[in-house]
């Protein structure tokens, strides 16, 4: 690969990362204030993160990558914005999805399973 191609690839990845970072910020901004304060009831449960990893691999990895590294379809979730978000914010996004941007609502998963996924995402 020529140096020019490498630079172009690097710039494209940087642009994609920047765009996804904005996507995450925009999604977090949409969360209603009341939903932000909802605590994660499974935060202290040792097995929650492990179960969340399994659920992530089953339902989320197709778009977000097997290690949450992101793909051309969806942002990386190994992102400080995700790690530092309030659990209630992530729960609201997972429950409602971002229908207009292609992320489905995951309300079909029972609430405890959504909390298990969030516990896993915030364990990175």
């Amino acid at each position: 690969m020529k140096f020019g191609h490498l630079v172009a690839l690097g710039l494209a990845l940087l642009a994609a990362h920047s765009s996804y970072a904005q996507d995450i910020a925009a999604a977090l901004a949409r969360v209603p204030p009341k939903a932000r304060t909802k605590p994660n009831p499974l935060e202290a449960k040792p097995s929650a993160s492990q179960a969340g990893k399994k659920l992530f691999e089953q339902h989320c990895a197709e778009c977000h990558g097997s290690s949450a590294e992101g793909s051309r379809h969806a942002p990386a979730l190994r992102d400080p914005q995700v790690r530092e978000a309030a659990p209630g914010e992530l729960f609201w996004i997972l429950t409602n999805g971002a229908i207009g941007r292609g992320m489905p609502a995951w309300s079909k998963l029972p609430e405890p399973q959504r909390w298990q996924i969030i516990t896993y995402l915030q364990s990175f």
């Binding site: 089953q58 409602n96 971002a98 207009g100 292609g102 992320m103 079909k108 029972p110 609430e111």
Partner: protein, 299 residues
Amino acid sequence: MAYRFTSGAQSYRTVLVLLTASLPFPALAQESPYIVTYDHHLEEPGNLEIEYFSTFGTQRLGNDFHAFWSEFEYGATAWWTTEFYLDGQTTFKDSTIFTGFRWENRIRPLRTEHFINPVFYVEYENVNEADKIVKEVEGHDVESNSGETNAALRGERDHELELKLILSKDVKGWNVAFNPLAVKNLASGDPWEFGYALGLSRPLALEASPSLCWLCRENFILGAELYGGLGDAHSFGLRETSHYLAPAVAWNLPSGWTVRVAPGFGLNENSHRILLRWGVSKEFSGIPERFRKLFGGRL
């Protein structure tokens, strides 16, 4: 009459099994146990679910039957799921016939979850009168309608428009769904016909276990469905209508397969005494991406 159960139905199932086996990208499904009722959860975008269902039905004053259909359910977007059906049936001591096709669309108008979540459902059906899958019950559908021979029934073809309003809610692990429906046969001057379906379901466990397992409690979802006809625009109500109650269970396997069983019991003299239903389905993810790769990225 020749008894031709094996040829049509078996080759139909063989084609489906080969088709599902040839798609190597399974996704884990989290399917409800409903066979008639719809909840508000749509297919994930880019996912294709291939389903096969059977209904064994008893028939007074006629021969029992085994109706079967396959569904190809595709998540076009996060707010639109489209689905294509192929229907057939075997009437015992009679024959096996293909009865028609259906094209269904479900559209979610609201972008976030609400107290009750509506989904609009529009379906076009091109089926003949011998269709016995009983995917919904409408108008004055009664058991005696399907008592004649296939030769007598298959001659009349219906072009139907079916509209449903899917209303559904998840609360504390339970799903409650109600589907009022209206059907118009476009090929005749028949009035609009009405019906309903009501469903209730819950997984055996709400938390997932940390390891992959086939028999974990969260893989099993139990429920029940109640469905029936409500007459037509000329005679709305319960007179000369049929109704069914069906306990139902779905088993969502880690391999991406789902098995459903729902024995339905007729609730009045106009209903088939038993509609024993079962089905298998498998979900495949990332279909557009696979097609793009197949055509060298040119799509």
